[in-house]
């Protein structure tokens, strides 16, 4: 194993962040108070669609403690519309509804008061005169020309309609012995952090500066706020030293931030908005993809899968935002881990009168993996072939890397067959099969779920130029600064908030490894956005690759300077020196110590090499490995690294009750070189828990009136410690050739395959009854109803 060659990397080390969190000393957004701070509470629309005729806030404004009521009309006159990812200029969006509301829960206006409680009291006094309008909830219906557009100015509900053909799809279908078609639907769910979104803004008119503290995970957050507020970029100061209480993609918060930024500037006071749970669930812009797949797959009698046609229709909700791009990321792994020669992909995104879709863990990859893995199970069933054997036959082999997939990305490395073999051994697969049969003999429904999939990681956001040709994005850089102070201690600066990913541990471990210094002695700080180098926040499983890479490279630059100082001091060539634990050793045995080096660099300019700058500091702004080009002919290298995971689980349930019980869950995981084992394992366990939720419980369900039914934790069910079983992780390491240590991404691990695997297990359990569950989540009521319908 490659792990052996590292001193700190890949070794069991405590994440440094944990100490403050176990003591309740994290610094979350709701923990921050500013003097004379005002509070915002938004008024939610009761209608799924309505024209706003007027808003009477006079009674609210007359209440003691109420400072202001902001309407959409006021805001629209003062700020620019929020940014759309695609060229949809007539799908205009402001933080508050302007003239019409487009989903139940949309913010109509906002009360500013001396306390949140007073602001909520005042909401009840506001009278909104609104005329209900026709609305649409279903994505297929939204596509019909007869359906009223959610945005009449846009002319239709279509946000994205792109057809890609990669490779000889027609030829491959003609040549294939069989084809089959099916549809599956990924229900609207989300990762729902326990901390809701919050933001605090404070305007200083003397400095012309807007300070912002927020629980964000958002690329280019400060830029977007500056654009909306018509402020120079250097008049927005986002403080990155805020701990984010979970995000998994969803803590975007642009509308909240533009709203409070505007109010703070208007009133000259610090202003805070912390969503309550209801606001978070219905209008937090945190719903994930809701996606219907229509798939036709072509294959031979021996199980060789030749080609796939996939139509993916996404329900983006009431506004455009960044949601349609979630149909783009899966292009980077559109064939999964399989040798599929050609693909036709039709990506459609439509507006409906539902809450706005935002980025969720995996950025659309988990739904697509669910569709691909369902296809593999269907093919196996059609052919009467073992599901595992079918996968093993079609998997890309170790000797085929780098492997070019039809849509233009090279997969970097992997050994999928070896990972699967390890999992089968660890799980004792024959015993698992026997246990399934024993459970069936005992009258239970029992099934085994299998899923293999990839985690694209560290990307260049290339889905932006691929889906929007006016977008010329070809970098998604990340940065790190390192300083050695005059007493010889290291401090590194990172330029983002974190939401549990352990970035301080990542950077201190990587720097410790490069500098051969105990990571516990390295301090990590998070300056504000004006004191930061460019970065793109922890999205797309990128930070181990990109922040870890930038930290390592910054460390190497420092080391090079240290070696040059030592060579000069000792009067020998650099190639005759060896760096060892901070000291530099000459071939003749002389030692130039760390302390001497620090003394020279900080105080003795006359002893430094000619022309060398004093001090010991470095920085690195790292470009995405392999991410050097815009798309050509609808193809592009999207991600440098591809992690692999293989899920295997056994489920059983009583045929009348239908409540799934997961007996055993084993996952094989290969994310290359691991920086911190406990962090990677934790991500994987948590991802599986999210996946179990998506497969069995979680859905933002709407009634026929367009009202969100699941808007509290009593209705939107999440897995507890009873629903998530003990999970066994089987580790494998195939280093990436593109990264400094061979690391790949792991932030979305588990989640990308668990929904497919759990669905497969349920479907295996009911396969004898001829039942196919074609929509997630598969709730226990759906299971028991389907069985009852077949057996009554």
């Amino acid at each position: 194993m490659t792990e052996q060659k590292y001193k700190f990397l890949s070794t069991p080390r405590r994440p440094v962040e944990d100490r403050r969190f176990v003591a309740g000393r994290g610094k979350f957004i709701a923990d921050l108070d500013r003097p004379n701070m005002l509070h915002v509470a938004p008024l939610a629309s009761h209608h799924a669609a309505a024209v706003i005729n007027g808003i009477d806030a006079s009674a609210a404004l007359a209440m003691p403690g109420v400072v202001d009521v902001i309407t959409g009309a006021e805001l629209a006159a003062a700020v620019q519309p929020l940014m759309n990812g695609l060229n949809t200029p007539n799908v205009r969006r402001f933080p508050l509804a302007v003239d019409r509301v487009r989903y139940a829960g949309e913010w109509v206006c906002a009360v500013v008061a001396e306390s949140r409680a007073l602001a909520e009291d005042a909401l009840e006094k506001i009278i909104v005169d609104a005329t209900p309008q026709p609305f649409i909830l279903d994505a297929e219906a939204a596509l019909l020309e007869t359906s009223a557009p959610v945005h009449p100015e846009h002319g239709s509900n279509l946000l994205l309609d792109r057809k890609f053909v990669w490779g000889p799809v027609d030829d491959d279908f003609d040549a294939a012995a069989h084809s089959l078609s099916f549809s599956v639907t990924w229900g609207r769910n989300s990762t729902v952090p326990i901390e809701t979104f919050g933001v605090l803004a404070e305007w200083n008119g003397w400095d012309q500066m807007l300070d912002i503290w927020a629980s964000i995970q958002m690329p280019k957050y400060a830029d977007q706020i500056a654009r909306s507020l018509d402020l120079p970029g250097n008049a927005i100061r986002v403080h990155y030293d805020v701990d984010v209480g979970g995000s998994y993609g969803v803590k975007r918060g642009i509308k909240h931030s533009v709203l409070v930024g505007y109010v703070a500037r208007k009133l000259g006071c610090p202003v805070r908005l912390i969503e309550d749970r209801l606001e978070n669930m219905r209008a937090g812009d945190a719903h994930g993809p809701e996606r219907k797949f229509d798939i036709t797959i072509a294959f031979d009698q021996d199980g060789t899968v030749r080609s796939m046609k996939m139509r993916a229709l996404d329900n983006a909700g009431a506004y455009a935002g960044r949601a349609p791009f979630q149909l783009g990321k899966p292009i980077s792994a559109i064939v999964g881990p399989y040798q599929i020669n050609s693909v036709a992909y039709h990506a459609l995104s439509v507006t409906t009168n539902k809450t706005v879709q935002e980025a969720v863990r995996g950025f659309g990859q988990a739904p697509t993996n669910y569709a691909i893995e369902t296809a593999m199970d269907r093919v196996a069933k059609y052919l009467g072939m073992d599901r595992l054997a079918l996968r093993q036959k079609n998997l890309i082999r170790k000797d085929q890397f780098p492997y070019l997939i039809p849509s233009g990305s090279y997969y970097d490395s992997g050994d999928y067959h070896a990972v699967i073999d390890k999992v089968l051994a660890a799980a004792d697969y024959p015993a698992m099969l026997a246990e399934r049969d024993r459970l069936r003999d005992a009258g239970m429904m029992a099934g085994i779920g299998i899923a293999a999939c990839l985690e694209p990681s560290g990307g260049n956001s290339s889905f932006e130029p691929l889906l929007n040709q006016s977008n010329q994005t070809s970098t998604w850089m990340e940065s790190c600064q390192v300083n050695i102070d005059a007493l010889g201690k290291l401090t590194a600066r990172i330029h983002t908030t974190s939401s549990g990913q352990g970035h301080e541990t990542l950077v201190s471990t990587v720097l410790g490894e490069v500098m051969q210094i105990d990571p516990e002695l390295i301090r990590i700080t998070r300056p504000n956005s004006l004191e930061s180098l460019p970065g793109n926040s922890p999205v797309g499983s990128r930070m181990a690759i990109m922040l870890g890479g930038a930290a390592a490279r910054a460390g190497e630059k420092l080391k090079a300077k240290i070696m040059a100082i030592a060579a000069h001091r000792l009067g020998v060539a650099i190639d005759q020196l060896r760096y060892e634990g901070g000291d530099v050793l000459a071939h003749d045995g002389r030692r130039f110590t760390w302390d001497e080096m620090v003394e020279l660099a900080h105080r003795q300019y006359h002893n430094l090499p000619d022309g060398m700058d004093p001090g010991l500091a470095s920085f690195d702004i790292m470009q995405v490995p392999t991410g050097d080009a815009l798309p050509v002919d609808d193809k592009v290298q999207m991600y440098p690294c591809y992690s692999f995971e293989f899920h295997l689980l056994l489920v059983s349930f009583d045929p009348i009750i239908g409540r799934p019980d997961i007996h055993s869950y084993v996952i094989g995981h290969d994310c290359g070189t691991v920086i911190n084992p406990a962090i990677v394992s934790g991500m994987t366990y948590g991802g599986i828990a999210h996946g179990i939720g998506a497969a069995l419980f979680e859905e933002f369900a709407y009634d026929t009136n367009g009202q969100l039914l699941t808007q509290s934790f009593l209705d939107y069910l999440m897995p507890s410690s009873h629903e998530v079983p003990a999970i066994q992780i089987v580790k494998h390491c195939t280093p990436s050739p593109h990264t400094v240590f061979g690391q790949k991404g792991s932030g979305e691990s588990g989640y990308l395959g668990a929904p497919a695997a759990v669905s497969a297990a349920i479907n295996d359990a009911v396969s004898g009854l001829g039942i196919h569950f074609e929509k997630l989540p598969i709730r226990m009521s759906a299971i028991s109803d389907a069985i009852a319908a077949k057996t009554s």
Partner: protein, 171 residues
């Protein structure tokens, strides 16, 4: 407005508050103890868990005025404080050892739920641990490393010489 006097982490605290203010908001906004977190504010997620006389209670479901005279332990009462800040209690240390957390938001509630369990059951089974934290939702960890942490803490507490069952002791 009502006067409320209660004991928090061994110290008497008094405050004036509206009758509608929850114990959660009182702890955070009046007592200034920000370690108790709001998650759902309707009693499901457990992020606001505190101990009242050693029993785990959701502070979002209790009004501050109902807590009059009660003896409350928050996360700030676990482990060292003041000059001993930085000293972890046994359960906290175990959470660090197994990385039984990620974002840290549900963590105070989890640790207090563990505290409540281990104060009455010094040698819990895995099932008992899962039962004890089943009212606390964690979205990061899938609970695996949390269960590991609590079992590790139980083992270490059992090996201690001073026969103190819990670690709300580092005043």
């Amino acid at each position: 407005m009502n006067d409320v006097t209660l004991t928090i982490n061994g110290k008497p605290v008094s405050g004036v508050t509206e009758p509608r203010v929850t114990l959660l908001d009182f702890l955070r906004d009046v007592a200034g103890l920000k370690g108790t977190h709001a998650g759902c504010e309707h009693g499901v997620c457990g992020a606001c868990t505190v101990l009242i006389d050693g029993t785990a209670v959701r502070s979002c479901l209790m009004l501050a005025v109902q807590a009059e005279g009660e003896d409350i332990t928050t996360i700030e009462g676990i482990g060292g404080s003041g000059a001993r800040a930085g000293e972890l209690g046994v359960i906290q240390d175990a959470f660090c050892e197994t990385h039984g957390l990620q974002c840290g938001y549900c963590t105070p509630g989890m640790i207090l739920a563990a505290e409540a369990l281990l104060s009455v059951n010094t040698d819990p089974t895995e099932h008992e641990v899962r039962e004890a934290i089943s009212g606390n939702i964690c979205r990061c960890t899938g609970y695996v490393q949390i269960v590991d942490a609590i079992l590790l803490a139980a083992k270490r507490l059992g090996q201690r010489n001073d026969a103190v069952p819990s670690d709300a002791t580092l005043a």
